[in-house]
């Protein structure tokens, strides 16, 4: 039952003055059964001219705001203290056959299944083609329990792909990742999502943070942590199960959830459109500390 303090700061430094800017942040904490936010605060500089908080279709709290004064520096900082727990995963061999899950979600009959069906089809950053489907089918053999197959798929992505920052662009499609077999957490999450959805199985993109462990004998570097992305799939009779293909583990008490959606595009932590500004430099620093 670890308690973490998460500091997340984003700074845009613009070469020319920005006249006005509009932003959308998916960084307000959402209520999740295995997480309890003890405190959370946001600091925006310059002060937003106007802001609006709302709930999106995925249940995230979204903050929309604009800054309508000239500025050359934009700073968005959140600090939160959160209590994170682990959830019990389903047992191997005991979950529903994956084909039955597909079938169940074709014509949902409840809030829960309708919600799950929302994550069962291609979305803008997570499309798929034959190659993705074939890759998925290697794990999704006939009549196999969905959890077993999904777990194996996660492990295969972890083994087949090499974690390599800087080689992919934002929003690379699953088939591109599968071809290159390189990327970062976002890419592996998208690949896994593409695989599952090619079989019309539900799969969410989860955005959040991961506790990191410094190399032995070295002090932990402040701000060197990063935002993280993993996936979550719906298992009838059990609920949503988180899988992290970047680390080949199930989502546990080191995974801190911020928001989820169909893909990165639904939950980009902070995006914006600016008028003026010229070129900019961006600095993001994240720090995840264990409080107790």
């Amino acid at each position: 039952m670890p308690i973490y303090q998460v500091d997340h700061e984003t700074v845009y430094d613009y070469r020319l003055p920005v006249l006005y800017s509009n932003h959308l942040a998916h960084m307000l904490p959402r209520t999740v059964s295995r997480q309890n936010w003890i405190s959370h605060s946001i600091k925006v500089d310059p002060n937003p001219t106007i802001q609006q908080e709302r709930l999106d279709i995925f249940g995230n709290r979204v903050l929309a705001f604009s800054i309508e004064q000239e500025h050359t520096l934009f700073r968005f900082k959140t600090t939160g203290i959160v209590d994170v727990q682990e959830e019990k995963p389903p047992k191997q061999g005991e979950t529903m056959k994956w084909e039955d899950v597909t079938k169940l979600l074709e014509r949902p009959t409840s809030d829960e299944t309708l919600d799950a069906a929302m994550y069962a089809y291609a979305s803008p950053f997570a499309k798929f083609d034959e190659s993705v489907r074939n890759y998925a089918l290697e794990s999704f053999e006939q009549d196999r329990p969905i959890f077993d197959a999904a777990y194996e798929l996660m492990t295969r992505i972890y083994t087949d792909c090499k974690y390599t920052p800087g080689v992919t662009r934002i929003g690379a499609q699953p088939q591109e990742i599968l071809r290159g077999r390189k990327g970062v957490c976002q890419d592996f999450a998208h690949l896994m999502i593409g695989c599952m959805r090619s079989l019309h199985l539900p799969c969410r993109y989860v955005s959040g943070y991961l506790r990191t462990h410094p190399c032995e004998g070295q002090p932990k570097l402040v701000g060197a942590d990063a935002t993280h992305a993993w996936v979550s799939t719906y298992i009838p009779g059990h609920g949503w199960v988180e899988l992290d293909p970047t680390n080949n583990v199930l989502g546990g008490n080191e995974h801190i959830i911020l928001a989820w959606g169909r893909d990165f595009g639904d939950v980009s932590p902070l995006k914006g459109v600016i008028t003026g500004g010229g070129e900019h430099t961006l600095k993001v620093s994240v720090n995840v500390d264990v409080k107790e």
Binding site: S66, P124, I170, G276
Partner: protein, 819 residues
């Protein structure tokens, strides 16, 4: 050939007209339509409107009206469910794919509520009449229904061609429908607490290159609301404003003519930055109303058709009145089997729109495809059956259309309806779309469903015949409402001001280019051109760098390249194209006559044959277009900001071009008198001062009076001083530039300086030469060009410029792996 009886009554009536009279009526129709030419942006023109309207009896209309109105209500209810409770899905009535595999379902609109629960304010339904006389719905347009403006124009044209028939047949009028549409739009922002006078309704037009744009201008004008583009909108403090020269004006309702995806780049996943950033927040905050509401594109999904009867029962508790053409989803195995057993009887359509493609996907009629195409289609269907629907081919009844004689054709009728908080109304009339048939075997496949009028498709007016006399009513003169006289010209959006400014500059450019080109062509057509000492100077004055290399060997070819080549960036054609494009964009701001001239500006027979003389008639055309536009603008434009920006542009460019001409031709003072005289002659001729000069000074050409006439003489309308004086006059009325104030604005200061320099210039001194160069003259001319360009820049900065907007940025850690 079956023909509907009512068509016969009309044809019988017009058969009473002589062929000559009938042809005369057709010409009248086409003249009316040409004046309002809606389709010039579509490449063709409006000749495709048939003189014979489609007739609908009062009885048939009862059925159609009820059917179309019900569909309008139904789709509105469906949108409410889709973006609200999703009851239809939670109850297992509909497949989840219909919503979640559908790129037109906008997640960001979920739980956002339009004013009065109205998602679909304006709807249209395409209806075909089958051989048995029954009606069937082919498709519905629920996001940005096309064709309303064209229906209006066709009505104006056909009713003017056959006024007696129009009256005697008791045809229902359209104006009442437009009034309901407008009332609905007005009511929307009052409902959200708009402040009446200050907040207004605007029409958000499609981009100028969109075929729909011409129609947008017609609708905006008919409804009397300003036409704006995305760039005209500013969102501050979650309020939507229109950028005008007078500042920001609050907008209450946006009647949009752009697709969902083009509305807000921050939230709708378009990385181009197009659209009004923050619009969705404003809508959520209840600060602006949008018609049709965002997200309505999803309703056009072909896959909904097969579920409509059930949806109608579920949501309205009614039976569907107007049935759809039979449609099956191939994602359903039994349906797929049925379709693939006899594919030739079906038309294949994509179940969903391709993402990023706003156009409808071309439907494929199996029976009319080549063997290879059939095979490819079957393969595509086989690999992803859930991506396809199939529509049953149908035999529709034929109508007559006129092309020299009455010829059978198949047709579709597009009907329009409005939903308001006060109820649903259907327009008694509509847009008929037809295609000539060569055989009896017609099918729905050959019935046009697209929005643009291609060469094979024609349009018809639709007359709904009333059993009772029809009341006269027109939107153009609202009854019982006194209009207070006003001298103000409404609000000029900054974008329109910029376009007028650019148009003014382009007009002056084209004029000077044509005059220089004429000066060259006239000389080249003389056999002794090799001996004309002034020719090289004129060539250099007119033709730019790219043509320079050709100059020495082949001046005629260089001239042709300059005048005619469309790919010459510095050539005349580029400027002429710009003028026509600007005319298109300014359609809603200028008179019909002026627009017509701009639309055809510089479009004349391309000179055939060789020899420079062959170019002269063309140049004459360009110059006469130029004169006509100047005259029409002076005659038809009120002296408001529109006129001022056009004038500013014209004067600035004219002054600069005249200065450059003087510089090119008079920089050098040749030692031999002959060359000198011929240069003076040329500069007067091209600078359009020859007549004035001769009247004042007789035949003796001398440099001092020539310079005076072209630079400083304020009574010569071609002189630089005249332009600058006019500039100052026009600038006086610009917002924030009141010259009665004690402090001068930067713009006025610059203008006064230029004018003073010209007035105080010592012409004798300017004419002095140092080693054959008139250095003083050049110094002055260069300084003047700089000053006037600075003036243009000030105008631009103060009134016109839009700061560049960048695309969408994501702050992600993958960007900053080095940190």
């Amino acid at each position: 050939m079956e023909c509907v009886k009512t068509d016969d009554t009309f044809i019988k009536s017009i058969s009473a007209l002589s062929k000559v009279e009938f042809e005369h009526r057709c010409r009248r129709l086409h003249n009316v339509l040409d004046e309002n030419d809606l389709s010039s942006s579509m490449g063709g023109n409006h000749k495709g409107t048939d003189p014979i309207p489609l007739l609908i009896t009062a009885e048939e209309w009862k059925t159609l009206e009820a059917g179309v109105a019900q569909r309008a209500r139904l789709f509105n209810a469906l949108a409410n469910d889709i973006y609200g409770e999703q009851r239809l899905w939670k109850n297992g009535k509909l497949p989840a794919a219909l919503l979640f595999a559908n790129p037109d379902f906008l997640q960001v609109v979920w739980n956002v509520h339009p004013v009065g629960g109205i998602f679909v304010n304006l709807t249209s339904t395409d209806v075909a009449r089958l051989k048995d006389g029954s009606f069937v719905a082919i498709s519905d347009h629920l996001q940005v229904p096309d064709g309303l403006g064209r229906a209006l124009e066709n009505r104006i044209g056909v009713s003017r061609a056959f006024p007696e028939l129009f009256r005697s047949m008791q045809t229902e009028r359209l104006a009442g429908f437009f009034k309901k549409l407008m009332d609905g739009l007005n009511a929307m922002h009052k409902n959200i607490g708009g402040e009446g006078e200050t907040s207004k309704v605007v029409l958000l037009a499609s981009s100028p290159d969109n075929p729909r744009r011409a129609e947008d201008a017609v609708i905006a004008r008919y409804l009397g609301i300003p036409l704006v583009e995305n760039d005209d909108l500013a969102i501050r403090n979650m309020q939507v404003y229109m950028k005008t020269l007078m500042g920001l004006k609050k907008i209450g309702t946006i009647f949009r003519r752009v697709e969902d995806g083009m509305c807000d780049p921050l939230e709708l996943r378009i990385d181009s930055g197009e659209g009004a950033v923050g619009l969705i927040s404003s809508v959520r905050a209840g600060n602006v109303a949008i018609a049709n509401f965002l997200g309505t594109g999803v309703l056009e999904t072909p896959m909904f058709k097969m579920f409509l009867p059930e949806i109608c029962r579920e949501l309205l508790g009614e039976e569907l009145l107007l049935r759809d053409v039979e449609t099956l989803w191939l994602g359903n195995a039994t349906d797929a089997e049925r379709v693939l057993a006899e594919p030739e009887k079906w038309i294949f359509k994509k179940a969903f729109r391709d993402e990023g493609n706003f156009k409808e996907v071309e439907p494929k009629a199996f029976a009319t495809m080549t063997n290879t195409a059939q095979l490819a289609l079957l393969q595509a269907v086989d690999s992803a059956p859930d991506q396809w629907v199939a529509e049953r081919s149908m035999e529709v009844s034929t109508v007559y259309a006129y092309r020299g004689e009455f010829t059978p054709a198949v047709s579709l009728m597009r009907f329009f309806a409005v939903n308001t908080t006060k109820g649903t109304s259907v327009m008694p009339g509509g847009l008929g779309i037809f295609k000539f048939t060569e055989s009896n075997a017609t099918s729905a496949a050959s019935v046009p469903t697209g929005c643009t009028v291609s060469e094979e498709l024609g349009e018809k007016d639709i007359w709904v015949l009333s059993e009772n006399p029809v009341a006269n009513f027109s939107l153009l003169a609202p009854a019982g409402q006194a209009i207070t006289p006003s001298r103000a010209g409404g609000d000029l959006p900054s974008r329109a001001a910029e376009n007028l400014f650019r148009l003014g500059r382009a007009l002056s450019s084209s004029n000077m280019m044509a005059r220089i080109a004429r000066g060259i062509a006239v000389r080249l057509s003389d056999e002794s051109w090799m001996d004309m000492p002034e020719l090289p100077w004129i060539l250099k004055a007119g033709l730019t760098d790219e043509s320079q290399s050709r100059l020495a060997q082949d001046p005629e070819n260089a001239l042709r390249y300059f005048i005619l080549r469309k790919d010459n960036k510095n050539g005349m054609q580029c400027v002429l194209t710009e003028i026509r494009e600007l005319g298109m964009q300014l359609r809603d701001r200028i008179s019909e006559d002026l627009w017509l001239y701009l639309n055809g500006f510089g479009i004349a027979e391309v000179p055939a044959g060789t020899g420079a003389a062959a170019l002269l008639p063309y140049l004459k055309e360009v110059l006469s277009d130029s004169a006509a536009v100047a005259g029409l603008a002076a005659d038809s434009m009120t002296r408001g900001h529109e006129w001022r920006f056009l004038e500013l542009g014209r004067e600035i460019e004219c002054a600069i071009r005249t200065l450059r001409l003087v510089k090119s031709l008079l920089y050098t003072a040749p030692t031999d008198e002959m060359t000198n005289l011929r240069l003076l002659q040329a500069v007067l001729e091209i600078g359009d001062g020859l007549m004035t000069y001769h009247r004042r000074y007789g035949g003796r050409l001398q440099v001092v009076p020539v310079i005076d006439l072209l630079l400083s003489d304020e009574s010569n309308p071609r002189s630089v001083a005249y332009q600058v004086a006019k500039l100052r006059k026009a600038a006086k009325h610009l917002p924030g530039n009141d010259q009665s104030e004690t402090t001068f604005s930067p713009l006025d200061r610059e203008l006064m300086r230029v004018l003073a320099e010209l007035r105080l210039a010592n012409i004798e001194q300017l004419a002095e030469t140092i080693e054959n160069k008139r250095e003083n003259l050049i110094k002055l001319v260069d300084a003047q060009i700089n000053s006037i360009e600075r003036i243009a820049e000030i105008v631009n900065r103060l009134y016109l410029s839009h700061a560049p907007r960048a695309g969408v940025f994501h702050a992600t850690t993958t960007d900053v792996s080095e940190v």
